[in-house]
């Protein structure tokens, strides 16, 4: 056992993962790349064999050369409406393919259909976010090999640096042509940006587009060009539109959450970053959307025009673009109908890849240009370390998403959430799992006020100097922790076994923490 720099014991060897000595987390920007990047197999398509069209998933699997033991990737822009993962795994099972490593950008509840295939050994390993039922299976020890969790940027880095080699990338394509050009902008299964799939398309040995909307060559505009797509397979439906995009995402109406959003907005307005050209990311949660709404008002009142809005894009960001409060949107994932319509029609709404969004090992990701990000977490500790992966009982239920990347990139990283979720305090002495280190978290905003990381005295001073103290109530982290503890009482330890079921990588590929198997009964 060796401690990394966030004081987590990491065994020197983890079964199914390897030796860890060279891979201990040692600081947010410490590990730097060496050498050259990795790509996929070089292929050639001649004028005589330009047709890439296949009739279905099974034919595509056969044509791709997919064999037992290989690694296949998926992207999650169809979210909880995705039919592709289940169809591909089912077809692999029918073809007798086993021992697969699946490398999705994220899995959702709809993918619970693959659980029997995990149990039968069709899937041997998962590298990627596991939300919901598959996370629960992993937590209870349902997989022999630990899951590897990476951020969006960390995943792109892992592919481009050769940590992970993709044998076959399966890309759900809301529109594709017979030459393999694909886009997410139109079609009955339109999802807007397909940014997470770019990196896979560029680095896999074989790329299969699956579509329910085949068009003549070429479509326009193109997101991923056919030059890196081997096959196009037609399927009946790639997804359920109701699960792909939500209707209009809404601001919270809960007064407690509105108060938190108000404090967070005031903190931003008081910071040095609230000026013309401010770039920010707020995501789609109830509190972050409310922060966006409050910031919008403040921007209007103070005649401030922002730069770009980043990340998962919602209708709120689209409105700000239309009203001239933002100049550009950089979209790796379109959350709602308004965002899908906007990216299809407005050239200022830019589709970006996971690499462009968040990779720490390229010549400058978009997150590096962020002034402010609003994030959530299941818990935070008095060192400001954030846990977004495990729940209070220790079970793995959430992926990292862009949490690490945006926190590291933004000049002001704010975690905004209620102090208590029921009896469970959100501020604890030590988080169960460190996802994002406290060194890149600047403030926690709760209904009790604003708690600023002591490593940001400039922010503390800015709040103290600002007029209107009631709107900027500062609470020291230890005082807030004591308050939470007084309400909740002492927590009993998480009931868990030694066995490691998940590894949380920091975006640079070092291990920031491990997740252990939970015991269900006391």
């Amino acid at each position: 056992m060796t401690l990394n720099t966030v004081q987590r014991d990491i065994p020197s060897h983890i079964d199914g993962y390897g030796n860890t000595a060279e891979k201990l987390y040692s600081g947010a920007f410490e590990r730097m790349p060496e050498g050259f990047g990795r790509g996929g197999r070089i292929r050639a398509v001649t004028p005589n064999d330009r047709a890439k069209l296949l009739s279905g998933v099974s034919e595509a699997i056969s044509a791709s050369g997919l064999k037992s033991g290989m690694t296949i990737s998926f992207h999650h822009h169809l979210r909880n409406g995705d039919y592709i993962v289940n169809q591909v795994i089912e077809a692999c099972a029918s073809s007798g393919i086993r021992d697969l490593t699946i490398f999705p950008t994220a899995l959702f509840g709809i993918h619970k259909d693959i659980i029997p295939h995990i149990k039968r050994g069709v899937i041997r390993r998962i590298m990627g976010s596991v939300n919901g039922p598959i996370g629960a299976l992993v937590s209870e020890g349902g997989m022999e090999i630990p899951v590897v969790l990476r951020s969006h940027g960390g995943r792109a880095r892992a592919v481009m640096s050769g940590d992970v080699h993709i044998d076959v990338a399966f890309i759900a394509a809301p529109v594709a042509d017979i030459g393999g050009n694909i886009s997410g902008r139109i079609g009955k299964s339109a999802c807007g940006s397909i940014g997470y799939a770019f990196t896979d398309a560029l680095h896999a040995d074989c790329v299969v587009a699956l579509t329910d909307n085949l068009q003549h060559y070429p479509i326009a505009p193109v997101s991923i060009p056919g030059t890196c797509v081997d096959f196009v397979a037609q399927v009946g439906s790639i997804g359920d539109p109701a699960g792909i995009v939500s209707g209009t995402t809404r601001v919270t109406r809960d007064p407690l959450r509105l108060l938190i959003a108000k404090y967070a907005s005031k903190l931003i307005e008081t910071s040095q970053y609230f000026r013309d050209g401010i770039n920010f990311q707020t995501g789609a949660g109830g509190i972050p959307l409310a922060v966006t709404a409050f910031m919008k008002e403040a921007m209007k009142n103070r005649h401030i025009r922002g730069g770009f809005g980043l990340g998962g894009i919602t209708g709120y960001f689209v409105d700000m673009l239309k009203e001239g409060l933002l100049k550009k949107l950089m979209d790796v994932q379109s959350f709602d109908e308004e965002a899908v319509k906007s990216i299809a029609s407005d050239p200022r709404h830019i589709e970006i890849s996971a690499d462009w969004y968040a990779n720490p090992w390229n010549c400058g990701a978009a997150v590096n240009w962020l002034d402010v990000v609003i994030l959530g977490a299941t818990e935070l500790d008095t060192d400001f370390n954030a846990n977004v992966n495990t729940e209070a009982d220790g079970s793995l239920l959430h992926g990292i998403g862009g949490h690490q990347d945006t926190a590291a990139g933004a000049k002001l990283t704010i975690i905004a959430q209620p102090l208590m979720r029921g009896r469970i305090p959100c501020l604890v002495d030590k988080v169960h799992t460190v996802t994002t280190p406290g060194e890149v978290v600047d403030a926690l905003v709760t209904e009790y006020g604003i708690t600023i990381n002591p490593n940001r005295p400039d922010l503390i001073d800015a709040c103290k100097e600002a007029k209107g103290g009631d709107e900027l109530p500062l609470v020291p982290v230890d005082e807030l922790r004591a308050r939470a503890r007084e309400m909740s009482g002492a927590m009993e330890p998480v009931w868990q076994d030694e066995r490691i079921v998940g590894i949380v990588e920091w975006r640079d590929g070092t291990i920031i923490d491990v997740i252990r198997q939970i015991r269900s009964a006391r």
């Binding site: 729940e391 209070a392 009982d393 220790g394 208590m420 979720r421 029921g422 009896r423 469970i424 309400m487 909740s488 009482g489 002492a490 927590m491 009993e492 998480v494 009931w495 006391r522």
Partner: protein, 98 residues
Amino acid sequence: MTIRDNARTAQAGTLESMDCLVTVTESTGERQIEISGAAVSRFAGAMTKKVNQVLDELEGKTEAKSVVVSVQDNGALDIVLGARVEAAYLRLVGGGAS
């Protein structure tokens, strides 16, 4: 909840966030406490202790009845849990504690 005459069982509370639904049932055996909900993983001991403490006090003041207590918790703090147990128990025994 007005089950008083010939009471076999009584309830107090709700399943709203930060509340709990407590059901007490008269029994002839030992006191039993069952607790379910998200907070159980980290607060089972504290919750059980609180339920026992409230029941011990009430049994001292009223005509003691052995009960089975079921708590469906949705994040109640101890002070809420205690109040719900007290209300449910008094509904079962027909009030009388002052």
